[in-house]
Subunit: 111 residues, 2 copies
């Protein structure tokens, strides 16, 4: 099985982060992972808000988040366990993720 | 001539902003407009860094920035004059643009 690609901290790019979080489903998934205390499986996100997300789209969303350097994914049996890389991104781009997550919270409140 | 579409402040969306600024040319153009004191024409950006940007791509980039609510464009003869809407975006998503512009500055420094 191919190892999962994760960019090194100093290779995390601003454009990739903004692109990854410019999708409403991905930013919702990421906000949940970033706000959670423990790692989460992909299948925990089969529903995001009112939407049911097909398994194939879900895998693609997690891949984009992982390749942007936003999450760390680890295979555990047939599942992937996902944790956020907020601390590493914070070291590279201070304040960026807190600002985006705050804006996401505003967005969700206002609908 | 059709009027140029600008979203109202409360219709400015997080996803559209992140998408608009996830492109290296667009974020560079926006950083310049946001940092400038006066309005700038599109043709002022025929070169961004080392890159020469074709006129048609440039128009498309300005359209994406405008429709995301990041800039205000006004026709003046055959030119468009562009100013940032930072203050309005700040009212909707406090701290978001300063954080993205700071990350862009870090990105540019490190290459």
């Amino acid at each position: 099985m191919r190892p999962l690609f994760h960019p090194a901290t100093d290779e995390i790019g601003l454009e990739a982060i903004l692109h990854a979080l410019s999708d409403p489903v991905r930013v919702a998934i990421f906000a949940d992972i970033a706000g959670g205390d423990c790692s989460q499986t992909c299948s925990a996100f089969a529903c995001v808000g009112d939407r049911v997300i097909p398994k194939s789209s879900l895998s693609q969303h997690f891949k984009v988040l992982r390749e942007a350097g936003l999450i760390h994914s680890e295979r555990q049996g047939v599942e992937l366990r996902n944790t956020s890389r907020c601390r590493e991104v914070e070291a590279r781009f201070p304040g960026l993720l807190p600002a985006i997550l705050a804006a996401h919270a505003v967005n969700r409140q206002r609908g």
